[in-house]
């Protein structure tokens, strides 16, 4: 009979949840998210650790067609050297692609040397940018091969005197064309006679080391969701057992067990997460995931323990328990048939809320560098990588931040809906 009533309770909860369109949408999206993260890496088969050196920090949108250039050839200056001695020296671009930018200028007899600077987006607007080369008075050309990307650059050539004091400057704007060296193109098995090549697609772009963002987001999702679901699951179960034991034994044991709970709850949570995380440490090659899970369990179990104890103490006074006891039900029967199933509702709700908070904690710790250890990606550590490049490559922060926010939002909404659906029990009391 109790079984039937119990069945009806969960059926009612499910019916109420189903009537809540928002809750079902959340549930469907969460299941989709988990499936995508679990099955994603086998569908999107790019290795998250592979570096695409031609596509460092490339944004999700933009051309993927690269021209093939001969980058091995040694450049010996422009074919026609501009005439020396003209009154105004003119800086000009001979060729500009991501393998090399070739600049030339007319020599100036009054200059004793040149300094070349390169400014790119994200640098201080008032500065000339990064110093690229210091050149002799006889130089009239320069080839820049340093870490070029298909974005806007501004080159500044300073003509200087003996002391290095600036005499005058010339500036030129360049946007290098996406290019690939012949050698790399052959490795990528380009067809004979082709002059362009399609670079591998990266729907979410690449990060600062040229790794595919989608692949990393999926693998990072596995880490974040594993920590976010497994750790709360473990400490919920432990808390359930602990709280139930404490409530059922009662007396002095209960008092002692609960004062332990009070102690652990009083500890400043994040402070101790950091401490535990540091104390557990990581050996070289470890990802730090186990340490995070252990720390989360060690600090997370007291609140479900307290919740379960309170619920069981409340339930024990219920008339139906009394009735069952009068009918000769043993302790074991009461626990398994009545107490545990009835506590499961509140445990489930607090489990649903524990997941987003564990994901948050993981993200927080990984963000300050105390969580998952690189190269293992997690959403938090990806945000940490992204924030220092926020101005130049916002997509590096955007996608992991969105992933965390959406996941947490969905779990929170589901938790709210579940709590509302569970409230029938309270109404029936």
């Amino acid at each position: 009979m109790a079984n039937a009533a119990d069945h009806r309770y969960w059926a009612t909860v499910w019916r109420r949840l189903k009537a809540d369109r928002k809750a079902i949408a959340c549930l469907v999206m969460l299941v989709g998210l988990i499936l995508a993260v679990v099955a994603g890496p086998s569908l999107w088969s790019i290795n998250p650790e592979a570096q695409f050196l031609n596509q460092i920090a490339s944004s999700p949108i933009g051309s993927r067609t690269a021209i093939v250039v001969d980058a091995n050839e040694l450049w010996t200056g422009p074919d026609k050297t501009p005439e020396a001695g003209a009154s105004t020296a003119r800086l000009s671009v001979i060729e500009a692609n991501t393998e090399f930018v070739r600049l030339s200028w007319r020599q100036d007899t009054s200059a004793k040397g040149y300094q070349l600077y390169r400014w790119s987006e994200g640098m201080n607007a008032a500065s000339l940018g990064m110093p690229v080369a210091v050149l002799e008075a006889g130089d009239s050309w320069y080839e820049d091969r340093l870490n070029l990307r298909p974005e806007r650059y501004e080159y500044t050539l300073l003509a200087v005197d003996e002391l290095g004091t600036e005499r005058y400057r010339q500036q030129i704007r360049v946007t290098p064309v996406l290019a690939m060296s012949e050698f790399d193109a052959e490795l990528a098995s380009i067809a004979e006679g082709e002059t362009t090549i399609e670079l591998p697609a990266h729907p979410l772009g690449t990060d600062h080391l040229g790794r595919d963002m989608l692949a990393r987001l999926l693998e990072g999702g596995q880490v974040s969701l594993f920590i976010g679901i497994f750790a709360p699951l473990m400490y919920m179960l432990f808390g359930l057992a602990y709280g139930a034991t404490s409530a059922l034994i009662g007396g002095r044991v209960d008092a002692i067990m609960m004062s332990i709970v009070d102690f652990v709850i009083a500890l400043p949570f994040l402070l101790f997460m950091i401490l535990f995380r540091v104390a557990l440490g990581t050996e070289p090659g470890e990802s730090g995931i186990a340490a995070l899970v252990i720390a989360l369990i060690a600090l997370g179990w007291p609140s479900p323990a307290r919740l379960v104890r309170g619920e069981i103490l409340r339930l024990r006074e219920m008339p139906y328990i009394e009735a069952a006891r009068l009918m000769g039900a043993g302790q074991r029967y009461l626990i398994l048939r009545h107490l545990i199933p009835n506590v499961m509702g509140s445990v489930l709700v607090s489990f649903t809320f524990a997941i987003p908070s564990a994901i948050f904690t993981e993200a927080f710790l990984s963000f300050i560098g105390m969580g998952v250890v690189p190269p293992a990606p997690s959403w938090g550590s990806m945000c940490n990588d992204g924030i220092s490049r926020l101005l130049t490559n916002p997509h590096m922060m955007l996608f992991p931040a969105l992933a965390i926010s959406i996941t947490v939002l969905l779990f929170n909404l589901l938790g709210d809906a579940l709590r509302d659906a569970m409230a029938i029990r309270r109404g029936a009391d």
């Binding site: 993200a363 300050i368 947490v408 939002l409």
Partner: protein, 314 residues
């Protein structure tokens, strides 16, 4: 009341002791040590340093020395910065964190008061829906994302207007403080707004509010004097954890905005394995939070006699 007070204070002291002890032993599990990090130190110097910091003594003795010093309010000397005591470090950097945290708390409280009231007065109409939606988003987005967005916004705004409306990061003037304080307070604001909205709705049809309305008091007076005053009580009960949240949230916000607060210093000390700074800061934060929680619990008990009585009996 007296018994309750003594009980709580005793409890707080034991908790602080526990924090200190746990910190001490957790630190001794840490693999690696700051004296042998990265650079190789000659054996003799290493031994001298070990002796100087008392690391060659047995663990029990180290613990006793540590506790003795702690009782005298001495947190020791930094491992990585010679001649700098942890007390100095805390004194210098905590004031920064405290200013930031206090302003964040004020932002959070004011915001919660305004949004919570608006949502409960126009319940189930668009201001309420917008508030509930905003709260949902604000509690789901990590604080470092808000901090990053704020920085991005400030950069764009400075570029758009052509002069520095607000500095992007750093510390030192009043204009540095607004953006990080607001971002730090945002999550707390959302949490408190939700709480206040709920308790305002709960008090809306309490008999004393209805009585005040029936007596013909002006609506604003009913709201402020009878409804809001009572609805603020649950807020008082979560102030302790709220301040704890703002304190630890500061770790991240200080990091993002490059603010020289204690939180950022703590994170750096952990990365450098500066034992004494880690232990000192943790014990300091632990004691601070335990005392704050205790203070607000007592305040709550004083403000609401029902709590006092029910707790006295258990």
């Amino acid at each position: 009341m007296m018994r309750y007070l003594l009980n709580r204070i005793l409890y707080a002291i034991v908790t602080i002791w526990f924090v200190a002890t746990a910190t001490f032993f957790a630190m001794h599990f840490v693999p690696g040590d700051p004296l042998s990090n990265e650079k190789v130190i000659p054996e003799k110097i290493y031994a001298t340093l070990q002796a100087y910091y008392g690391l060659d003594k047995p663990l029990g003795e180290q613990y006793l020395i540590y506790m003795q010093r702690l009782l005298q309010g001495d947190f020791g000397v930094s491992f990585t910065q010679q001649n700098r005591s942890v007390n100095d470090i805390i004194a210098e950097h905590f004031s920064v964190s405290a200013i930031l945290g206090l302003l964040a708390l004020i932002f959070a409280l004011f915001g919660a008061l305004i949004f919570g009231s608006v949502a409960s007065i126009w319940r189930r109409r668009w201001p309420d829906t917008a508030t509930v939606l905003g709260v949902m988003v604000a509690v789901s987005v990590p604080s470092f994302v808000f901090a990053a967005l704020a920085q991005l916004f400030i950069v764009e705004m400075n570029q758009f207007t052509g002069w520095q409306v607000l500095p992007v990061a750093g510390w030192g003037s009043i204009s540095h403080i607004w953006a990080p304080a607001l971002m730090l307070g945002l999550g707390t604001m959302a949490f408190l707004t939700r709480l206040l909205r709920g308790s305002l709705i709960d008090t809306a049809d309490q008999p004393y509010v209805l009585a005040a309305q029936a007596r013909g008091l002006p609506p604003w007076r009913c709201f402020l004097r009878y409804q809001l005053r009572n609805a603020l009580l649950p807020t008082l009960s979560v102030m302790g954890p709220t301040i704890a949240g703002i304190t630890t949230g500061g770790f991240v916000v200080e990091q993002v905005f490059a603010i020289p607060g204690l939180g950022r210093y703590f994170v750096q000390a952990v990365a450098q394995l500066d034992y004494t700074v880690i232990m000192g800061t943790t014990v300091f934060y632990g004691a601070f939070l335990v005392i704050v929680v205790l203070a607000f619990d007592l305040l709550y008990a004083w403000a609401d006699p029902r709590i006092r009585i029910s707790r006295d009996m258990t």
